[in-house]
């Protein structure tokens, strides 16, 4: 069992770039998408994220396109609700409804694309050690690392059990679906405890005393990449200020 975004991150051409460099670029684009005027700032930030992901980072367009579409339902429903007016005469559109809804959809899509640039180029196991540099406690980073390592095992259990249930007509009616879902959740939960216990036993046998330290892969920062990031973000802001 795998997740498309995680697969893309491991296969990306930027996989061996420093996670801190990619974090800086992605956060820069997210902030640009959020604070710059929609036209042209947000649009340019979103477009840069898409071009960088599909171009130099070589993320499959299909994966990136699908992932960008995921938050779209929330963005569109949220934006439409925000621009409907509740007045004495009932519901109606706000005077600048189209512009405001467009701005909200723009911010949402560009922001999502900028986060996806990081998500599709950096596996969680590279990103989590970076949290230590942001002064997140070691225990929390370790718990998060265990979550990352266990969730694929549990997702694969979930898929296998659900297939078996489906083959036994477990989802043929609403009533049965509920029963099967309850049993499925219980099986996955008890399995997660069992996994944790077996891992604990295994580590105790190897003398675990102080946490789960592993040697992180050395992914050095690149000066040209950082310079290009700074120059690109500055150019983005400058173009936006001139054009708007």
């Amino acid at each position: 069992m795998s997740l498309a975004i995680d697969d893309a991150a491991w296969a990306s051409a930027w996989r061996l770039r420093s996670p801190a460099d990619k974090l800086l670029l992605s956060v820069g684009l997210v902030v640009s998408a959020l604070v710059l005027p929609v036209w042209p700032g947000t649009l340019l930030a979103g477009l840069s994220a898409v071009v960088l992901a599909l171009g130099p980072a070589r993320v499959p367009a299909r994966t990136f396109g699908r992932a960008v579409r995921l938050p779209l339902t929330f963005i569109v429903v949220g934006a439409l609700t925000a621009v409907v007016e509740v007045g004495s005469g009932g519901l109606g559109w706000a005077p600048d409804a189209a512009a405001r809804a467009g701005a909200l959809v723009g911010h949402g899509l560009a922001g999502s694309a900028a986060v996806l640039l990081l998500a599709t180029t950096t596996p969680m196991s590279d990103l989590l050690p970076e949290l230590r540099r942001l002064r997140v406690p070691a225990a929390v980073v370790e718990v998060a690392s265990v979550v990352y390592r266990l969730l694929f095992v549990l997702l694969s259990s979930l898929t296998t059990i659900r297939e078996a249930q489906t083959a036994r007509m477990g989802y043929s009616t609403v009533r049965r679906s509920y029963r099967s879902s309850g049993v499925l959740a219980a099986a996955v939960l008890t399995r997660s405890w069992d996994r944790a216990r077996r891992l604990t036993d295994g580590l105790a046998g190897r003398g675990m005393e102080t946490g789960l330290r592993v040697l992180p892969e050395a992914l050095p920062s690149s000066r040209p990449f950082l310079a290009a990031t700074a120059a690109g973000l500055a150019a983005l802001a400058a173009v936006t200020l001139v054009l708007s």
């Binding site: 997740l3 995680d6 997210v30 604070v35 992932a67 995921l70 938050p71 929330f74 429903v77 949220g78 609700t81 925000a82 409907v84 007016e85 509740v86 007045g87 909200l104 899509l109 999502s112 900028a114 986060v115 996806l116 969680m124 990103l127 406690p137 225990a139 929390v140 370790e142 718990v143 998060a144 690392s145 265990v146 979550v147 969730l151 694969s156 259990s157 296998t160 059990i161 249930q165 036994r168 609403v174 679906s177 509920y178 879902s181 309850g182 049993v183 959740a185 219980a186 099986a187 996955v188 939960l189 399995r191 997660s192 405890w193 216990r197 604990t200 580590l203 675990m208 102080t210 946490g211």
Partner: protein, 245 residues
Amino acid sequence: MHIAEGFLPPAHALGWTIAAAPFVVHGARAVTREVRENPESTLLLGAAGAFTFVLSAIKLPSVTGSSSHPTGTGVGAVLFRPPVMALLGTVVLLFQALLLAHGGITTLGANAFSMAIVGPWAGYGAYRLTRRCGGGLLGGVFAGMAVADLATYVTTSLQLALAFPDAQSGYLGAAVKFLGVFAITQVPLAIGEGLLGVLLFRVLTVNARPELERLGVLAPEPVAGAGSGAPSPASGTDGGEEDRG
């Protein structure tokens, strides 16, 4: 449903991050203390986080024919208590943002406030209250999970109303709009999540009683049974083949 990246104005995104921070920091301290005392609890807490993440991949059929996903915050609050859920929920939200494109980084604070803080606390309150009123474990779990689900969506709606007040009717009108779209539609799904909780705990009380006792959800049985073989929680229940990953 989480608030998507870029959707909240910067001041609101920052404000909700500051509002969520004390709860998450408190949870982080609790986890750090726990891990220092028992290093093996790292793995149990990680398993709890992974389960919360995976729970959102279970589809719940709704009466209208569509399907939805449980928020999972209620189960976590009942099993692991709200302070731990504040941290685990935030970690899960970060994973959902980066692995499922669900939620975002600047909206992490707002989403953590609704899903990792308000949802678990409201659900845990409903669970304790129902049990104290004699509702029993399953009654408590139903109330806890349904309330946690609904409270999460009510909070999200109010966050959106604060960010986008109605031009004519102000914050109140906006709250009515967003509650109508995101919270009222959630009522049947919250009941569905409550039912899922009842079914889940019915299985757990049979298959994983020692774990529920250890977590303090069930009181230890006073009389030990005759057959005292070590109970195995790794039940295959309705499952397929054992995975050997």
